[in-house]
């Protein structure tokens, strides 16, 4: 394949970033926005071309005669040679999941660009916003096409920083600054694990390259095993779990999830792009990328499943008790990503050709679409009502019909009601989990039920319940076409994308297969979803005091869930009280008083001694002469005595 197109996909967004970043201030808002959006549109077209070529051209580079999809390095340049064999390369890897991600990222990014034209209209720093969006898109694209784990790490950091910049976009608000700082530091901490994992992995295998690592996973594992064990776990498990720790940070798995809800301080389209559809699934993508290696190490797969299952449940519970609609969506995102994690973690090549892997990626795709839709819908609501809390909303279905219908489609999709996309992907995931273990399946079905419940609770609270009296002063209405169009398109995609025969495109080893609905699982999940929705309907359709009573009856639980089970407080305690106040301050004190004190003491002692003997240096020559003669006479006497 010609390398111009793939290269352009990366070059265009970064060029946009440079143009908008360097000359943006001289441009008008309109020009900057249009430029950014058109640039992104072209990138999207290019990405689609590349993805379609990959999937449908039948080129032997991409697919063998038997229909097995291949990994293909379009280009790969040496960037930095650590040793003659361990070389960091920057390149472009085409395989099913990277092609899929290209489509997802550019689609969502384009819609977010378009949507922001309306949403961010008139904001100060509009050009800067578009510049950062381009930077983010560049980094994210670089991440997914990475040919080696180090390139992924490079772009991993870059998405982190673009996320930091975008969360802190309203930088005069202290809450936004704090949130952006938190997001960066938490993910940075996770990246430390990632880095150490890469260090271990590359030390033993002497390569970063994904193709080399995954095409012969057995060799990879056995070379890693040569490292022996450390603290009871083998080096394999250490390396893989540490790498997964990076994924935990980016994908907001427990206990590193605390940054994502706060990240909602950023502009809403940013949340849709970064914190729902693309960046936060990087962790899932990372595991998928390394899947052939992971699936040979039971311990790390179990670790992924356990973390994912706990997170999914935790986030779903917390989402039921949030008031801020973006926070609800944020926890829903955490829960859904955990779903994907569990799905990939539960996948085994021997079970249904690794169904969990395919379904995880499928859910990644559908989730990106409907979650972006929900976030953009939430953005439209916030834009109309000027508040993030659903307590300020209610009864909006009459005022904002487009938002209402699209939001409803999003809710149905995430709840897993056929024929919306979420049903298909979630059903496949559940099948894979039941295959893995019954307990896991039941557990995750329960989470799916909770998901349907809190999403419809949110939906009813926003669009039904009781109208906010302030509507009379300021009548909410649907937004301009730039904001509505992305909603409509994404809603359509959410309706139909479930019918994509995903098994033909993305499988763990490239071999295509047909997906079959497993009726028992499908029916269970539909029933659970419908019951949950019915419950939500009963409780929240009209204003009543049952929910409040229920919350009051288990007040401690409700408060704890509302405060996210005090994770933030724990972190605050550890970082501020222990690390900052105790460790840092005592080190600083030690430095100033002990080490510096010692140095000053040398000086002081010298000075004291000097003062003690300075009387001899009176400055008067006559005194010196006196001493001189006294000395001379003494010396003379001594010599004389010796001579005698």
């Amino acid at each position: 394949m010609d390398m111009t197109l793939p290269l352009l996909i990366l070059v265009l967004p970064i060029t946009m970033f440079l143009i908008l970043g360097l000359c943006g201030m001289k441009m008008s808002h309109k020009l900057a926005g249009t430029l950014g959006t058109i640039g992104m549109g072209i990138t999207a077209i290019l990405a689609y071309t590349v993805a379609f070529t990959y999937f449908f051209s039948g080129n032997p580079d991409f697919v063998t005669a038997e229909g097995v999809r291949q990994q293909f390095e379009v280009f790969n340049y040496d960037w930095l040679a650590f040793t003659p064999t361990l070389i960091v390369q920057l390149g472009f890897l085409l395989d099913p999941i990277s092609a899929l991600m290209l489509v997802v990222i550019t689609t969502i990014s384009f819609f977010v660009h378009l949507y922001s034209l309306g949403y961010m209209h008139g904001e100060k720093g509009f050009q800067r916003y578009y510049a950062f969006l381009s930077l983010f898109t560049f980094s994210m694209l670089g991440l997914v096409v990475a040919t080696n784990i180090f390139q992924m790490y490079i772009f991993w950091e870059l998405v982190g920083v673009s996320s930091y910049l975008l969360i802190g976009f309203f930088y005069t608000l202290p809450s936004a600054v704090a949130a952006s700082k938190k997001a960066f530091i938490v993910t940075r901490f996770a990246d430390l694990g990632f880095l150490i994992g890469i260090l271990l992995l590359s030390f033993f295998t002497d390569t970063f390259n994904f193709v080399e690592l995954t095409s012969n996973p057995g060799t990879t594992i056995s070379t890693l095993s040569a490292g022996g064990t450390f603290m009871g776990c083998s080096v394999v498990t250490w390396a893989l779990c540490l790498i997964f720790m990076g994924g935990m940070g980016k994908s907001a798995m427990m206990p590193l999830h605390i940054w994502l809800p706060d990240a909602m301080e950023g502009p809403t389209p940013v949340s849709a792009l970064i914190h729902a559809a693309t960046m936060v699934v990087a962790g899932v993508y990372l595991i998928a990328r390394m899947f052939p290696v992971y699936c040979l190490d039971e311990a790390s797969m179990d670790f992924i499943v356990i973390i994912g299952a706990i997170t999914a449940f935790y986030a779903a519970v917390v989402a039921c008790a949030q008031i801020d609609i973006k926070r609800v969506l944020a926890f829903s995102t955490i829960s859904q990503i955990a779903f994907m994690m569990v799905s990939i973690g539960a996948a085994r090549p021997e079970l249904h050709e690794g169904l969990g892997y395919m379904s995880g990626m499928f859910h990644l795709f559908t989730h990106a679409m409907f979650k972006a839709l929900l976030f953009l819908g939430a953005g439209a609501l916030i834009h109309a009502v000027h508040s993030n809390n659903y307590t300020d909303m209610g009864g909006l279905r009459k005022y904002m019909p487009i938002t209402h219908w699209t939001f409803l489609i999003g809710c149905l999709a995430i709840a897993g009601i056929p024929p919306f996309s979420g049903f298909f992907s979630k059903d496949e995931m559940l099948t894979a989990m039941y295959d893995n273990s019954m307990f896991l399946g039941v557990w995750m079905t329960m989470v799916a039920g909770l998901t349907a419940f809190y999403m419809f609770r949110l939906y009813y609270m926003i669009f039904w319940w009781e109208e906010n009296p302030h509507y009379k002063d300021h009548k909410p209405h649907d937004s301009s076409w730039t904001m509505s169009l992305p909603l409509i398109i994404l809603a359509v995609v959410s309706c139909v994308s479930g019918f994509i025969p995903f098994g033909h495109f993305v499988t763990w080893n490239g071999e295509p297969y047909d997906i079959h609905l497993k009726m028992s699982v499908a029916i269970t999940s539909i029933v659970v979803a419908v019951v949950a929705i019915a419950l939500a309907t009963v409780l929240y359709r009209k204003k009543n005091d049952v929910p409040a009573k229920m919350a009051n009856s288990v007040k401690w639980l409700w408060t704890a869930a509302n405060r996210r089970f005090y994770w933030d407080e724990i972190y605050m305690f550890v970082t501020h009280k222990i690390i900052f106040n105790i460790i840092c301050k005592s080190i600083a004190w030690f430095d100033r008083h002990i080490i510096d004190g010692t140095m000053d003491m040398f000086a002081k002692v010298t000075q004291k001694v000097s003062y003690a003997i300075r009387g001899l240096q009176s400055g008067s020559i006559q005194t010196y002469v006196l001493w001189y003669f006294a000395g001379a006479i003494l010396l003379g006497l001594v010599v004389w005595m010796m001579v005698i």
Partner: protein
């Protein structure tokens, strides 16, 4: 003929600078002289680099190029011996860039601009002289030439407790030099086998390899501590926070940017290259000390409230990383050390330049008294953020390349001791992120803290010029590291060979 060697011009041009400044009568003339000559220096260093790479590409594999030697004082075999390898070339380029940027950063120095630039030029002469020498004695002499002007530059043009800091800095560095001189004399007296003439020339000493093991064990700590003091090694780093906090902008830039690198450069060029057996044997002691530096500096920086103190402690951490990597004694880690020197030099210079500019406007360096400066002076704010990102190791900027090379190189040691320290070192990058973002959040972002700051203006043209130069270099290294990396790795080959021979 002495003038035929390109290297000597790196000493002659600063001398011309001195002469030119002596004739100057007003500020404009001073600026002209400094601008023209520092530009020539920069151009010359670029030319040297290109020419050097061309010679290497043409297949010249001598350990040092542009070698030349003139007798200076024959009874003691002291010579003016010149020669550079890839590392020195890069260091020369770094110095030239920082001298250039420093000139613009002190465009409006007050009072006594002429005297300021005189000392500044002398300082840069010392620095260049150090990097081009391969004779230990002249190297040491230039080292001292570079140190002394610091005292006056800080003491006269500094701020705050400047006399105290200047005195402390000079005395501590001089104390280091005393150790160093002892070490160098020791090396000299054992520089050749019995009966052969003694020499100060580094290459000849390395070739002779006549220093026996027991002597190396004494001389290595002496020289390493001597250079380590300048490289802000724990526990000899306390001159750095006070000194940097009180120094004027350009001096902080040159000091943190180049002078601290003299320490790291000396460590591998003399301590390790000439005393390889002791280096293998005793590296662990200094790995502990520098490992402490790395973590300790980072944690200390977290609670400082003065911008310059934060940066000075951050320098302790980053320069600790340089020495730490050098002690790993393998090509990759040592290459990382040089990259870190370059990166830290540029980045800290940028930091100090920006702090100077911010201080010049707000008249405070206390982070609690500032806030929302991004809104008032977006240009400086963006530059500060870039410097911060470089410092916390963002890919695409120089810090990332350097740190990663160090980590991957250091990780090649398989024993638990080294591994544990490497992991402690990697954890410092998280702490770095904490203090950098803390500062950025406090001073640049958030609401405006002080009403008076609203009237402040953004950067002037000469300030922009100075910062852009540095940023371009930082991004350049960060985006295209491989040619630098290769140049350095090549230059390390002889040193690594010596170390490996000694290890057997």
């Amino acid at each position: 003929m002495i003038l035929e060697n390109i290297l000597i011009y790196f000493v002659i041009i600063p001398l011309l600078m001195l002469a030119g400044l002596a004739l100057c009568r007003n500020m404009n003339q001073i600026r002209t002289v400094m601008t023209v000559l520092s530009t020539i220096l920069l151009g010359l260093s670029v030319y040297l680099c290109v020419d050097f790479l061309a010679l290497r590409a043409a297949g010249n594999t001598d350990p040092m190029l542009y070698m030349a030697s003139w007798d200076w004082y024959t009874p003691l075999n002291i010579k003016l011996a010149l020669g550079v390898d890839g590392i020195s070339v890069l260091m020369i380029m770094l110095s030239a860039i920082i001298v250039f940027a420093g000139t613009f950063a002190s465009w409006k120095i007050d009072p006594l601009p002429k005297n300021f630039f005189l000392w500044f030029a002398l300082l840069s002469m010392g620095v260049f002289g150090f990097f081009i020498s391969i004779d230990m004695f002249t190297m040491f002499m230039f080292y001292e030439v570079a140190l002394i002007p610091m005292y006056l530059l800080i003491g006269v043009w500094g701020t705050g407790r400047k006399e105290y800091s200047a005195m402390k800095l000079t005395l501590m560095l001089m104390g280091g030099s005393a150790f160093l001189m002892l070490g160098l004399l020791g090396i000299y007296w054992h520089s050749a086998p019995e009966g052969a003439p003694l020499t100060w020339n580094i290459l000849e000493i390395a070739q002779n390899g006549a220093i026996d093991r027991s002597w190396q064990m004494y001389l290595f700590p002496l020289t390493f501590v001597g250079f380590g003091v300048l490289g802000a090694m724990f526990p000899f780093h306390t001159w750095s926070p006070d000194g940097h906090a009180c120094a004027p902008t350009a001096v902080s830039m040159l000091h943190a940017g180049v002078l601290m690198k003299l320490g790291g450069y000396g460590c591998f060029r003399i301590s390790i290259f000439l005393l390889p057996e002791a280096a293998n044997e005793l590296a662990w002691v200094f790995i502990i000390l520098t490992g402490i530096s790395v973590v300790y500096g980072a944690f200390s920086a977290c609670v400082q409230t003065d911008l310059k103190y934060i940066n000075a402690y951050s320098s302790v951490s980053h320069c600790g990383m340089v020495l730490f990597a050098i002690l790993m004694l393998n090509t990759t880690a040592m290459t990382g050390a040089i990259l870190q020197m370059l990166s830290h030099g540029l980045m800290t210079a940028l930091f100090f330049a920006l702090i100077g500019m911010i201080y010049g406007r707000t008249h405070t360096r206390d982070i609690r008294e500032m806030g929302g400066l991004m809104k008032i002076m977006p240009y400086l704010g963006v530059c500060y953020m870039i410097a911060g990102f470089a410092s916390l190791g963002l890919p695409g900027l120089s810090g990332f390349v350097a740190e990663m090379t160090i980590f991957f190189g250091s990780f090649q040691h398989t024993d638990l001791f080294h591994r544990a320290f490497v992991i402690a070192g990697t954890s410092a990058i998280v702490v770095t992120a904490v203090y950098i973002l803390r500062v950025v959040g406090k001073i640049l972002l958030g609401p405006v803290q002080d009403e008076h700051h609203l009237q402040l203006t953004d950067a002037t043209w000469y300030e922009r010029f100075s910062t852009i130069t540095l940023i371009v270099c930082i991004a350049g290294i960060g985006c295209f590291p491989n040619w630098i990396n290769e140049t350095i790795q090549q230059s390390f080959a002889p040193i690594i060979r010596v170390i490996e021979q000694a290890a057997i």
